[in-house]
Amino acid sequence: MTSAVSILPGAQLAVLNAAYRGAVARKRLRLALAAAAFLAALVVAAFGAEVNLRTLFTYFGNFVSYFDRILTLEDGTRVWSNPAEWFWGWRKWLWMLAETILISYVGTMIGAVLAFALNFFAAQNTSPARWLRFVIRRLLEFARTVPGIVFALIFVIAFGLGPMAGVLAIAIHSTGALGKLFSEIVENADMKPVEGVRSTGASWLSCMRFAVLPQVAAGYASYALLRFEINVREASVMGFVGAGGIGQELVVAIRKFYYSDVSAILITIIVTVFIIDIGTGWLRGRLFGGDARA
């Protein structure tokens, strides 16, 4: 199939060409300016963060040899040649790991219940009063913007060293994060059932219970599971500030240069995180169908 492409006369073409080149040049200029601004920001940041390439190059060997060292046992052999010696403390570590998982489980549970209690007040379509919604939203924002480990630091002083501080810190952070997600699900819910229930003379509470909850419960559970996954990771470092779990063992091993212990504990943590990721993914698939993987 052939078709003729008409060629414009030279004068007309020159105008179009000039316009095209101008547009391209403008775009390039904008890109170059953005890149220059970004580079300038990087340079300023490099001074701010005391980046020292010489340090990096001098000590980069350290980084590589650090992995070499954590993969070497005290008698100089590779860790995998003697797993029994490498994982000598597995009994203790598994207990600490169980504690970590328990911390994140209890923390997620408390957080999810609190978020559940608050989210109807934070959602635009179900909140009974404007000022209440504003207050609850700011509260949730505060809870999720302050990092969990900062809460943990403060709670360790208030509640003493131990897992309680970690649980409460995770609970507060989860309340903030889940409260926002939950209220977004509620905002996407269909309001017709609510009108239906209200037309029967039901109270606000019954409207939530019989019209909104059935629509959103699956989404809630899905997000709570996802949060549990994230919280396991978070709980693994809660021990750094004395709030319980495997982090305590890890920080001791790193600070005291028990090299092979570091790699053993790290591998235990990574494998646990994998298993929990896969496990919750499977559970989500079972509960809400394959496509619900948020």
Partner: protein
């Protein structure tokens, strides 16, 4: 008004057995799951030493702490705090950029449409997963061992932790790209590098830019805390003031973090829309 005929229950029951006579197993599944979840919760409370006495003692202590936090007051250390905040922002910006620059080429190796063979893809993906499985704070501890205390360790920690996350996100963005452009380049005689440069990159770069901005934003949060283990930034100040119980300074620092994070959220939101248009990305 016509009266609806009375439904014949027996007939309905015979017609829909799973509505009327659900087997006990399915009827009990949900309550059983709730009871099990609650049992684990109670076991956790007991095992983790939650006693009401301890809880109330701690709460009253917390009340005192909160009272002592008011009003937030930086004392005479405001300049030090501002420079610490600058350090935190620098750590986040540099760490994220380094991670993005390093992760882009490697993420190509993890994308199904670039590397069809699973033998190379699988180890690269697992490596990304492993790096991601280690928390930023742990990376910070490792880097402190390498380059010493200070913000530089923080930059490297953020870079390392984000490398894993970016690798996964970038490779997913690359896999989602339209392959028609790539086929067009191949049809005109381009080699594999040309396909990536002219076929893939123009499609994925805006997506990637959006993700990088989003990470700079979320890394500002992570960077505020890596100081707790000694890797520089405002977290260092925060941890110190908490240890010496200077609660007014603590509340001031927390307020500073909140304001900074809100400001970064706002700026990067604007920038993101400028780069990728009005469709919001992850």
């Amino acid at each position: 008004m016509s009266q609806l005929p009375k439904p014949d229950r027996e007939q309905l029951r015979a017609k829909y057995p799973d509505v009327f006579d659900r087997p006990a197993g399915t009827r009990l599944a949900t309550p059983a799951m709730i009871v099990a979840a609650f049992a684990v919760f109670v076991f956790g409370l007991v095992d983790l030493d939650f006693s009401p006495a301890k809880l109330f003692a701690g709460l009253s202590q917390l009340g005192w702490i909160t009272l002592m936090m008011i009003p937030p007051d930086p004392g005479s250390s405001l300049p030090a705090y501002l420079s610490a905040l600058g350090e935190t922002l620098s750590i986040a910006l540099l760490g994220t950029t380094i991670a993005a620059v390093l992760a882009l080429p490697v993420s190509l190796l993890a994308a199904r449409n670039v590397i069809p063979s699973g033998w190379l893809r699988f180890p690269v993906r697992r490596a990304f997963d492993s790096i991601r499985g280690v928390d930023t704070l742990i990376w910070a501890l490792v880097w402190i061992n390498v380059v010493g205390l200070g913000p530089f360790a923080g930059v490297l920690a953020i870079a390392a932790a984000d490398f894993g996350a970016f690798g996964k996100l970038f490779s997913e963005a690359i896999e989602a790209a339209d392959k028609k452009q790539v086929e067009g380049i191949r049809a005109s005689g381009g080699n594999a590098l040309h396909e990536i440069r002219f076929g893939l990159m123009p499609q994925v770069l805006p997506v990637i830019a959006g993700q990088v901005l989003y990470f700079i934003e979320s890394n500002t949060r992570s960077a505020t805390i890596i100081g707790i283990v000694g890797a520089g930034g405002i977290g260092l100040q925060l941890a110190e003031q908490i240890r010496v119980l200077e609660w007014q300074k603590v509340s001031f620092l927390i307020l500073m973090i909140l304001v900074a994070v809100a400001a970064i959220d706002w700026i990067s939101g604007k920038l993101r829309f400028a780069i990728i248009g009005q469709r919001a990305l992850a």
